[in-house]
Symmetry: C2
């Protein structure tokens, strides 16, 4: 069945978060990798836990909370200015090199972002990266106040694009997000840049690829 729309995860999938890691290393030399790793892990953990607890706050808040936890845990000083600088980096991420080619090749189909990010964060990074011209929609979980992989999040894309789930291709570099989207009923491309094992979540991605452009020959 041909895909009418492609829906992309944002952070780590279209946008390279490498610059955030570089800023962590610049601010806390020797601790950039450990801090970035713990920060990301806590950011996701808080999104899942708050969803289960019914205690939603937006992704900007979760991201700042996770940074503070990670710094405290690693005994690194982190003041309000540090938090502001690092959060600002999230608004100015670069896209992965193949994104322009992929977006062009997809012309004629609907293209959207579906992300945990707050609308404010997402709109800023979409504008600063120049991606806005190529997207039909930028969808944030903030409309629902629950995070991925709750199936209601994936339904947002079906409703906003007015395309059936079987005709939507979903693209994410996060395996758990890819599994969540597959469980919902999308056709799913997991961009496994790091060569990780597949997660055991009861639904597996349709395709496991190493970069975004690898999906182009598979679309029909």
């Amino acid at each position: 069945m041909p895909l009418e729309a492609l829906v992309f995860d944002a952070y780590g999938t279209l946008f390279d978060v490498h610059s955030v890691i570089a800023r962590c290393e610049a601010r806390w030399p020797g601790h950039g990798a450990a801090l970035s790793h713990l920060w990301r892990a806590k950011q996701l953990e808080y999104s899942w836990l708050r969803s289960l607890m019914g205690r939603y706050v937006d992704f900007e808040t979760i991201t700042a909370d996770a940074l503070r936890f990670a710094c405290q845990s690693l005994d690194l000083a982190c003041d309000a200015a540090d938090t502001r600088t690092l959060m600002e980096a999230y608004r100015n991420l670069e896209t992965f090199p193949e994104v322009t080619e992929v977006m062009s090749a997809l012309q004629g189909r609907k293209r959207a972002i579906l992300s945990n990010g707050s609308s404010d964060m997402l709109n800023a990074v979409v504008r600063s990266s120049g991606l806005d011209a190529t997207l039909d929609a930028v969808l944030s979980v903030d409309a629902l106040k629950i995070y991925k992989p709750d199936p209601r999040v994936y339904q947002l894309a079906v409703d906003a694009l007015a395309v059936d789930r079987e005709r939507i291709g979903f693209v994410s570099s996060n395996c758990w997000d890819a599994c969540g989207a597959k469980s919902f009923g999308f056709r799913v491309f997991w961009i496994n840049r790091a060569g990780n094992p597949v997660d055991a979540l009861g639904a597996v991605p349709d395709q496991i690829l190493t970069k975004l452009s690898d999906m182009l020959p598979l679309l029909s």
Copy 2:
């Protein structure tokens, strides 16, 4: 308000999982700590993700899945016999040294376990540790098919013990579990053995202690 009942998390709170870590190190020398850490992280991650996805499988399955993922990720061989041996260790955990004293001191109040563990796993470890004589109830999320910190899990204890939530003291060594229980409305003791920072989840434990027996003078 006096507490009529004390409800305990199981793994890491009453039962010391140290022996599982020791078995990992014995089987994969030099990798025990890294493997145990990733195994535990994935076990929790799968419990939260499957809850959000509506793809519940029991904790025994999640635990075995997480072990396989962790071994694959660290490039360690893991066959069915390894999985069986390590899962068996979960059924024969020892309690922390202060558990006997604490349970005795709580005589006259209702005492229960409320755990992510499957009934089968829980009943085995409760029996093998000799804790069964001191407990009024051993409650598993398996009855609901959703994991902590979904508030319906904490409601299980209210229903089973027939005690109002404000009169239940909840005890966990997992900060996220303590926050989830506080968000639900229990009076909460977080046993912070590792000296971790408190998580930012919108609800904080009432008391942060370093061992179980520290809560005894606080009960009234």
